[in-house]
């Protein structure tokens, strides 16, 4: 045997492995085609379409009131913000003057939604790196928010509380009281998140220095939300293009420059504090007034193209409507944050271990129905 074949005997071989569509770490039906060399990831290829429900096509069929409830089913963890995006687009197209009360209530519920989404993410994040207890602590706090939603909107997840022109009905009399209770409760529990998980040496070693995304890449991949802000890309729609009541409140845009998994983790935890402070500023000053303005039963948008973007818990959600003046949109396109955030997975996960891939994916905070729509 000559020297070359001898060294080839020790050469490792790449192999292919299917992660998903049924896998605990993909949180849904995402399929990742992994090329692995031992434990090291060589290539990640997401394969989509397992939960495609053609929501955009269904929107072309439905009236503008009906479209709203379909968006609940996209990013189900920030359903209220999705609803808001469609309603804002329609309202802007109709040039409706929305009462301040509606704006403030929308903002409060949107921020509660963001906290609910982030607490769930925090629990699942812990579970992905192996700390199973975080899941229940996260859900405990989320449960309080869900109760607030259930009392006011009638549903816990797919709320469909927004309609073009305002809100479906007024807030429940208990809403303010319950929200204040939640703020007081959550302020004692949020530091616990840090002591349990953030400060843990194993967790820090697992998270720091992996899945590094530079600011340039974040911009070129279209990353948004906490993923972009973890890389130092200031992309908060609430700050740069304020909608609803965000121009009335003061809050900080959380920015981290490291761009690694831990930075994205920190951004989300800090965002919960910011959301709390936004709610605190608004909860005592809900203006009196109507909870909706009257619209025609059949809404017909004037001919033209309309775009509105909002900041969901995952990043920038854009709604693009082409109207031909009929009661249905001619074309409706959602720019969903999860899709662009998923696209950079291959870029940041290559070279890491399998465990790193799971941790990285957890901080991208993917919601698969949002990606597939």
């Amino acid at each position: 045997m000559d020297a070359t074949t001898k060294t080839n005997n020790f050469k490792s071989e790449e192999y292919f492995i299917n992660m998903g569509p049924q896998h605990p770490a993909t949180h849904g039906v995402l399929r990742l085609l992994l090329t692995i060399d031992g434990e090291i990831i060589k290539k990640v290829e997401p394969d989509l379409g397992y939960i495609h429900r053609s929501i955009e096509k269904m929107c072309e069929r439905d009236s503008y009131q009906q479209i709203v409830h379909l968006t609940d089913r996209m990013d189900y963890l920030s359903s209220h913000i999705n609803n808001e995006a469609v309603c804002l687009t329609v309202e802007n197209a109709l040039k409706l003057e929305i009462p301040d009360r509606v704006k403030v209530i929308r903002t409060i519920i949107a921020e509660l939604t963001r906290i609910a989404s982030h607490t769930l993410w925090w629990g699942v994040m812990g579970m992905d790196v192996g700390a199973l207890t975080t899941y229940f602590y996260g859900f405990r706090d989320r449960e309080m928010i869900n109760d607030i939603f259930e009392e006011t909107c009638g549903a816990r997840l797919t709320m469909n509380y927004n309609i073009p022109g305002g809100l479906m009905f007024d807030i429940h009399p208990n809403f303010v009281k319950r929200t204040k209770e939640f703020i007081a409760h959550f302020k004692t529990k949020l530091p616990e998140y840090d002591t349990l998980l953030t400060g843990n040496i194993i967790f820090q070693k697992r998270m720091k220095g992996i899945g590094i995304l530079s600011k340039e890449d974040a911009i070129s991949f279209g990353a948004s939300g906490p993923v972009g802000r973890g890389s130092g890309y200031s992309c908060d729609v609430r700050k740069h293009h304020p909608y609803s009541a965000y121009d009335k409140v003061t809050f900080n845009e959380v920015l981290k420059t490291e761009g690694d998994t831990f930075a994205r983790y920190q951004v989300r935890v800090m965002e919960m504090w910011e959301s709390l402070s936004i709610i605190e500023q608004l909860i005592d000053n809900i203006p009196e007034g109507d909870y909706k303005v009257a619209t025609n039963v059949v809404i017909k948008l004037p001919e033209g193209e309309y775009y509105q973007k909002v900041e969901t818990a995952r990043g920038e959600l854009g709604v693009y409507i082409i109207s031909t003046g009929t009661k249905n949109p001619y074309r409706l396109k959602f720019r969903s944050p999860g899709f662009s955030n998923l696209s950079l997975l291959n870029h940041i996960a290559v070279g890491g271990k399998i465990g790193d891939l799971v941790a990285t994916m957890a901080t991208l905070d993917l919601v698969i129905p949002d990606i597939d729509r």
Partner: protein
Amino acid sequence: MNITKNIHEWLFSLMPETTASIVEMVLIAVIYLAIFAVAGLYLVLLERRVAAWFQLRLGPNRVGYQGLLQTMADALKLVSKELTVTIKADKFLYNLAPYFVIVTALMALSLFPFSKEFQAFDINIGIFFLTAISSIGVIGILLAGWSSNNKFSLIGAMRSGVQTISYELSVGLSLLTMVVMTGSLQLSQIVEVQKSGWLIVQGHIPAIIAFCIYMVAGTAETNRAPFDLVEAESELGAGFHTEYSGMKFAYFFLAEFINMFIIAAIATTIFFGAYLSPFGITESIPLLGVFWFLAKTLALVFLMMWFRWTFPRLRIDQLLVLEWKYLLPLNLMNLILMALMVLLGLTIKF
């Protein structure tokens, strides 16, 4: 105990010597199998209840009083389930693997001095035998991962190999540190030494360090979180036992809990004086030895559960860094420290 002595004499008076000893062995085996099954099932229940209490839940409380029959029901379900095999699995090895794991766990159980007389197998290389036996279990895991013909299983099995070989070292060395003090490998001798103070008190600082290292390495050897890379639910699904179903899966599952019990029992025997009561308060009642042994062991088992339900999982390279860069050098230093201490007579004896 008088009962065992009576049975022994009764058996030998009844039949010829060879038959009598065979019958006695079978009896002992049956008793230990029963202990094994009961301990395994109730450790599973304990784990589930403890996990629930850490996680603000109630845990299983429907089947029987406070869920005491829950795991029995689970075992019944697992027995009645179909045993599936993947088409391209290596059938022989696939079927062999669970027995490797479970038999080694059972063998290790026979060594422990549950009380002064209650010890099935008191050989003069006790600790050595225990460490040797507990490292055979990994062969079962390797076989399971390899023969399942599943890539996730294979990754899990390879991780298991790496992990167990590394952490075996720390387990062995930390026990060796204590053997320096006892001067014997025989478990009954080791307990005898502890009549003048538990070894963790006798050996103070080095003994405590050895105990900490032992607990970390022991947790790693049982493949439990934070070292559960072998199963790594969020990474590999179920790791090496992905393809196992029914009772074969239950074997792996039970063995994991029995191994946890074994690791805790070794720690109890070596560090905490086995069946000896604290300050000798119940030395006059030898039967209470079983109680003290189980109490100490379960306290350590609880500690391991506490680890599991608090910490995130390590990554494979960090696992090896922890062993080779931290535990091993510390262990070696500790061993020298202990040797010096024994040499200078600095141990505390009552």
